[in-house]
Amino acid sequence: MDDPDEAGPRDPRRRALLLLLLAAYAVPPIEWAFAAPADDAGRDAFLSASNLITGRSKLDPGLTSRLYEALVADDPQFPAHVQALDVLIRKRAIDPLQLQHSLDTGQPALAALPRKIATAWYVGIVGEDPNARCVAYETSLMSVAVSDHLMPPSYCSGPYGSWSQKPG
């Protein structure tokens, strides 16, 4: 078993690795620069559609990125589809309560998207079994939406007996 303290900061291998990591952080890789416009369009459309579907105008940027990347990893067509969905929503000014019905009847190719996006944000799950994975739990909107009353299950709800009090 290696002693974790054995290789200290003066270890030349560690120093080289550290410099490499710093360089990577400071200078975006070239692939990223080329991919940026298309990626940005997909991300923008995802954020816009997410605002409508979740009913929230402010969404955490970090979680937005993580969910978007997970959705793209789950379905490479997601960026194109979410852009098409966003265009449709903007063009027709669709009421979110009518969105699913509207897609089911008129745009079946996009009909699965709102549930995917809502599930990602509210339940924190991306993908279908057996490929489903949990991207968020404590920060999922289902947890956030009720956080004035409930902790997510598996987290302590308070001191012993606090649950006997009237909620509020």
Binding site: G55, P96, A118, D129, P130, H149, S157, Y160
Partner: protein, 532 residues
């Protein structure tokens, strides 16, 4: 690992019954070896598995099955381990790990009612137990002290001594059920649970994680993992990943050894003076049937032909509705209160008795999924989610089924990864169950009315959830012709072979089965000590 091992007592299965029996025997000076088919697991890892799970409502998802010792797993798809012969599905869940299935129980530590044990004499159905409530009572108390049990004093099960702990604080919504149902004649009482209301035996008081199932993150409720740890600390040797596949007898019919495979199918023979099978109500009969020999062609301990027969559980129906006032289920333990006044009466000659149980499980996850499935988006999604999280409640029954020989566990022709037969279940529901369910529906409706309920959603008629209380498959009795073990858990056919677990219960009775199985197991150990 040597090819052979030996101990005074060999226990097969490290669940709550096997581990507590092992603990007591090793404390009394015997050398004890526990063989567990599954691996060791860690509370922190299982809690992390739950938080990372993509199926938070699937209590099995944090417990992956082992290829060499699979347990039934139905999601995301059925792993095919528990073969269903029908006609009614019996999707039992259990966990093959060190500590067994109580890792994910709701800590319901109920005693039976005295009349549960005399159902044949009193009501002409089912079968009587070969022991009385009075004989069992001291062992219930013994188990309650070990496990740290508390509860209400008025649930119909007499007790000689008070509970070792004060009841767990009543969650707000349970108080509201109690207050609003009382005028309708319903007495809502705190459940009898192995959950700490204070620091007990080195474990903390409940802090309301609302995650009793699938895992209590802090060990505030007792489970088989705690029992297994205690047995090892006391000196028992526990071998995980040891899949017992054959019980060997000598020419006189005494058990000489058991044989187990490690995950690489290396076989090890374990000799002992006394053997206790505690591998649950499906795996233990499977092992007995697999151990058939020339002398015992239908399997060991099976001269009665009843090994694996009389399979029972507790089916449940339920009603979900929106209560008039804000309840906010999800604060405190998951299953805190119930109605116990419907567990006994002359009606039992005609239809099943039941306990009515109120859930306190957070409704947030289920509500979010339901709303998304319904296509509710935008501000309304959060609004309706909050409404349902605050108002949605449910009541279910835990209903007694009667023993029927055709409901049974047999060996499937299908094999698992080690080449061992999978268990196959034959199960059906009779009209006694259906009539009991019909009676429950009238109570559900009345309860909803008293709670000012709206948006009533009954489970479909004839479709019942299962409760994983696997009982009856190795029933105890005085007559070797119609039972597998005697009133002390000793098999009629093999003097040094005992069985511990819910499988020895002759009827499923009107409450969750773990506590009764533990009490009987402790009585078995006492008997072993007195007769050794």
């Amino acid at each position: 690992m040597p090819d052979s091992l030996a101990a005074d007592v060999v226990v097969i299965g490290s669940g709550i019954c096997g581990s507590l029996a092992a603990h007591r025997l090793v404390t009394q000076g015997a050398s004890v070896l526990i063989l567990e088919a599954g691996p060791r697991i860690d509370r922190g890892q299982i809690t992390a598995n739950f938080r990372n799970s993509s199926r938070k409502n699937d209590y099995m998802s944090p417990y992956p099955f082992s290829p060499w010792a699979p347990h039934p797993d139905y999601h995301p798809k059925d792993n095919g381990y528990l073969v269903q012969a029908g006609p009614y599905p019996y999707p039992a869940e259990y966990i093959r790990v060190v500590g067994g299935t109580t890792w994910h129980w709701a800590a319901q530590a109920w005693r039976v009612l005295p009349n549960d044990l005399r159902i044949k004499t009193l009501y002409g159905v089912g079968r009587d137990w070969p022991l009385t409530y009075e004989e069992l009572e001291p062992y219930y108390y013994d188990a309650e002290v070990i496990m740290g049990v508390s509860g209400a004093p008025n649930t119909g099960s007499p007790r000689a001594k008070p509970f070792p702990m004060e009841p767990v604080a009543e969650p707000w919504p349970m108080r509201r059920f109690r207050e609003r149902l009382a005028p309708g004649g319903y007495e809502v009482v705190g459940n009898t649970t192995a959950r700490n209301s204070r620091t007990y035996d080195g474990r903390p008081a409940c802090c309301g994680n609302n995650n009793c199932q699938p895992i209590c993150p802090i060990g505030a409720q007792y489970d088989g993992g705690i029992a297994a740890d205690a047995a090892e600390v006391a000196g028992a040797k526990l071998i995980p990943k040891a899949v017992v596949y054959r019980i060997e007898h000598d020419p006189q019919g005494r058990i000489a050894a058991v044989h187990y495979y490690d995950p690489d199918k290396h076989s090890i023979r374990v000799t002992g003076k006394l053997f206790i099978l505690a591998a649950n109500g499906i795996e233990t009969p499977k092992l007995l049937l697999m151990s058939a020999s020339d002398k015992y062609p239908t399997g060991l301990a099976n001269s009665s032909g009843t090994v694996g027969r009389n399979l029972m559980d507790h089916p449940s129906s339920s009603l979900t509705f929106d209560a008039e006032e804000e309840m906010w289920l999800g604060r405190g333990p998951q299953s805190p209160s119930s109605i116990n006044t419907l567990r006994d009466g002359a009606f039992r000659s005609e239809r099943a008795a039941f306990r009515l149980d109120f859930t306190n499980i957070s409704q947030v996850y289920a509500a979010a999924q339901d709303l998304i499935t319904a296509g509710v988006y935008g501000p309304e999604l959060e609004k309706q989610l909050r409404y349902r999280a605050a108002h949605q409640v449910s009541v279910k029954n835990v209903l007694e089924v009667l023993p029927h020989p055709q409901n049974r566990v047999v060996l499937s022709t299908q094999k698992d990864a080690l080449g061992l037969p999978k268990p196959e279940v034959h199960y059906s529901m009779d009209d006694y169950v259906h009539r009991g369910m019909a009676a429950a529906r009238t109570h559900y409706a009345r309860i909803a009315e008293l709670m000012g309920g709206t948006n009533l959603r009954y489970t479909p008629e004839g479709q019942y959830a299962n409760n994983q209380h696997i009982t009856g498959t190795m029933s105890m009795g005085n007559d070797p012709k119609d039972s597998v073990v005697d009133p002390f858990g000793r098999t009629h056919d093999h003097e040094n072979l005992f069985i511990a677990g819910t499988g020895v219960m002759p009827t499923s009775a009107t409450c969750n089965s773990t506590m009764t199985a533990v009490a009987i197991a402790l009585r078995t150990v006492q008997h072993i000590r007195q007769t050794a």
